[in-house]
Amino acid sequence: MIGGIPLNDVLLASGALFVIGLAGALLRKNAISIFLSIEVMMNAANLALIGYGSALGTREGQIVVFFVIAIAAAEASVGLAIFVSLFRHTETIDVNEIHLLKW
């Protein structure tokens, strides 16, 4: 129990988010959406961290989340830059269309 919130609810929500993000990552086709789904997965992790942190009564959870958010931001900047620079060549970010390198 965190306050009045059972840890289970938190974890279920986190798990749901993670799976949804996973689904997105596996099923979406354009790179941005995939990356977006991955962000969702990370948020799922964040949620679980917060939940556990509060449940265990430690701030480390929040600390880690803080770092994750920062990292996510960094990833986003780099990732989007990558999309842009790739788009210059391929005119698309549909990963089904991007298979210069294979076999």
């Binding site: 996973l22 990552a25 596996l26 086709k29 995939i34 990963v95 089904n96 991007i98 298979h99 210069l100 390198l101 294979k102 076999w103």
Partner: protein, 646 residues
């Protein structure tokens, strides 16, 4: 040992030196050099031999062993290089060196037409090497040294048969000779293995001594041992079924046929069996086999000889037949007679071959008797020597052949081997017949060859006729050293000389009783009569009537005649039974087992792995979503594997 009696090793060493000289320098230094070195070395060897032999003949015939060095020592096995001089080897080297020298001499003339010095040098080199090997063979003091010579003479015969290497049949004949001999050697080897396992040594005196001492211990296994040895002998001495190489061996120069394939090498088998008489006598069954094989060979080859038209082929089959005779002798226990025949045969058969060589020389290489005839007037020396030798071979008293052959028949008779005796007698008649057929066709009647051949006919040069004369003389007197008791009680000097090599064997009951003189006379008369009959028949049919009768006979039984003329098609049979299956097997093993199966399997495995790679690489679709999926699947699989479902 006085300076006059040289060490034994010198006797073979001299021809060896000759061999090296001819081989290395013969080509450069030319024919005269070779003609000097080749026969010269053998002459020296002969001299050395006799210098050594004369005291030996005179003195006690106690065996002398001269050890030169250890040869092979490994584990339980040890054998040294040592030479042995005892009556048997003494006898052998005496006529080997002498006949050998004569034939070398003859060759100088015979090979003179060889335009290139190279071939000439090669010829004499080989011939010297042969002399070396042959002498080592007979002088060897243990089976292994004997085997060295044994293989050496095989090598030389291979080289000399194939002397005209650019003629395919000559090359093939050489190969055939060597391979067939090798089959015999295989038996010989196994025999040696048995002996070594039985006696722990290969040394003659050790082995024979042990065997003579305690026959009971070894007797059970001696039969197989002796049979193996005899296989070797049969190979070397061209006995049924391994005789097939000898007729082909005539592809070599005629002096070679005379020396190797008549006088010396082919008798090595007989020598070896005689050398091992102790073992053989302890294995009666083996001796019976020897006798039977010998007899069969004798009659079989004689039969073939009846219908041959190639002068050398006749002589070749006659040689086979006579060798059979010798084994017959050994088989019935008449080893002395066997050796006696070996010696006399060496004289007259060498003479015959040289004579035929002289004929062929004159005929410009023609060997078909149907194209000859009437040479008597053109080449008298050849004719007379040839005639004498023929009579000797046919066993007409008082020539050499008569005594030896008679001794053999007597031996057979004494041994109560009546069938064998009968066949032997028959063979004697046939021998006389085909030999006189030969003489008649060649020397009597009118010339049937081409004109230029006739124009070219001439008596051979001195170097060739001289040996003929000497050999002819020997064919006459050679037999007198072994007179049967009936003629003179003390006449059998030969037998007495060889006696030491036939130690008494307690276990073997000597039931060969001595015949009454009357019987002996009878036997002599019979054999003489048979021989004379053969002579007369051949003379009338071929000499007088130019072979009309035989023609009719042949016409009457065309199949049989063809069969005999084609030597019973034994070569074809062997080809069918052994050669072709051998080819087939070899091809099968190569193409199927090696290439198809073994390599096939391995390459298949390799291929499959490569294929797997080629397929699996397409998992790498290039689509990043698949990569994510594989990752995720991996995670799920891991979790399921480790934690499982709960």
């Amino acid at each position: 040992m006085t300076s006059l009696s040289p060490p034994l090793w010198l006797i073979p060493a001299l021809p060896l030196a000759g061999f090296l000289l001819c081989l290395l320098f013969g080509k450069r230094l030319g024919k005269t050099f070779v003609s000097a070195v080749g026969p010269g070395s053998v002459a020296l060897a002969t001299v050395a031999a006799f210098l050594r032999l004369i005291p030996f003949f005179g003195g006690s015939h106690a065996p002398v062993v001269e050890k030169l060095a250890d040869w092979i020592t490994a584990g339980a096995f040890s054998v040294d290089i040592s030479l042995r001089l005892d009556p048997l080897s003494a006898l052998m080297i005496s006529f080997v060196t002498f006949v050998g020298f004569l034939i070398h001499l003859y060759s100088v003339g015979y090979m003179s037409h060889d335009e290139t010095g190279a071939g000439y040098a090669r010829y004499f080199a080989y011939l010297n090497l042969f002399m070396f090997s042959m002498l080592v063979l007979v002088l060897g003091n243990n089976f292994l040294i004997l085997f060295v010579g044994w293989e050496g003479v095989g090598l030389c015969s291979y080289l000399l048969i194939g002397y005209y290497y650019d003629r395919e049949y000559a090359a093939s004949a050489g190969r055939k000779a060597f391979v067939v001999n090798r089959i015999g050697d295989f038996g010989f080897l196994i025999g040696m293995f048995f002996i070594f396992r039985l006696f722990g040594s290969l040394d003659f005196s050790t082995v024979f001594g042990a065997a003579a001492e305690d026959p009971g211990r070894f007797a059970p296994y001696l039969t197989v041992t002796c049979l193996c040895l005899f296989v070797g002998a049969a190979g070397k001495s061209a006995q049924v079924p391994l005789y097939v190489w000898l007729p082909d061996a005539m592809a070599g120069p005629t002096p070679v046929s005379a020396l190797i394939h008549a006088a010396t090498m082919v008798t090595a088998g007989v020598y070896m069996v005689t050398r091992c008489n102790v073992l053989f006598r302890l294995a009666p069954d083996a001796m019976l086999v020897v006798a039977i094989v010998g007899t069969v060979t004798a009659i079989f080859a004689a039969t073939i000889a009846l219908a041959q038209n190639d002068i050398k082929k006749v002589l070749a089959y006659s040689t086979v037949s006579q060798l059979g005779y010798m084994f017959l002798a050994c088989g019935v226990g008449a080893y002395v007679a066997g050796m006696f025949h070996v010696m006399t045969h060496a004289f007259f058969k060498a003479c015959l071959f040289l004579g035929s060589g002289s004929v062929i020389h004159a005929m410009g290489g023609e060997q078909d008797m149907r194209k000859m005839g009437g040479l008597r007037s053109k080449m008298p020396v050849t004719f007379w020597t040839f005639l004498i030798a023929t009579l000797a071979l046919s066993g007409i008293p008082p020539l050499a052949g008569f005594f030896s052959k008679d001794a053999i028949l007597t031996g057979a008779f004494e041994g109560h081997r009546n069938v064998i005796f009968g066949i032997g007698l028959l063979t004697a008649g046939m021998t006389a017949f085909y030999m006189f057929r030969l003489v008649s066709l060649t020397f009597t009647g009118g010339f049937r060859g081409t004109h230029e051949q006739e124009h070219h006919l001439h008596e051979s040069p001195r170097t060739m006729t001289l040996p003929l004369i000497v050999l002819a003389i020997l064919s006459v007197v050679g037999g007198w050293i072994g007179l049967p008791p009936a003629i003179s009680e003390s006449g059998d000097r030969f037998g007495r000389f060889l006696a030491p090599i036939f130690p008494a064997l307690p276990s073997v009951h000597a039931e060969t009783g001595v015949l009454a003189h009357g019987t002996e006379w009878l036997l002599m008369a019979v054999s003489t009569a048979v021989a004379a009959g053969g002579l007369y028949l051949a003379w009338t049919w071929y000499g007088k009537q130019e072979g009309r009768v035989p023609a009719r006979v042949a016409a009457a039984f065309p199949g049989t005649y063809a069969l005999v003329r084609d030597k019973f098609r034994i070569d074809e049979l062997y080809d069918l039974l052994f050669v072709r299956p051998f080819h087939a097997l070899a091809w099968f093993l190569w193409k199927v087992v090696d290439v198809l199966v073994i390599d096939g399997i391995l390459n298949a495995v390799a291929f499959l792995v490569e294929l797997a790679g080629d397929l699996l690489r397409f998992l790498q679709t290039g689509n990043v979503r698949n990569y994510a999926l594989t990752f995720f699947l991996g995670v799920v699989a891991l979790v399921l594997a480790v934690i499982g479902v709960f």
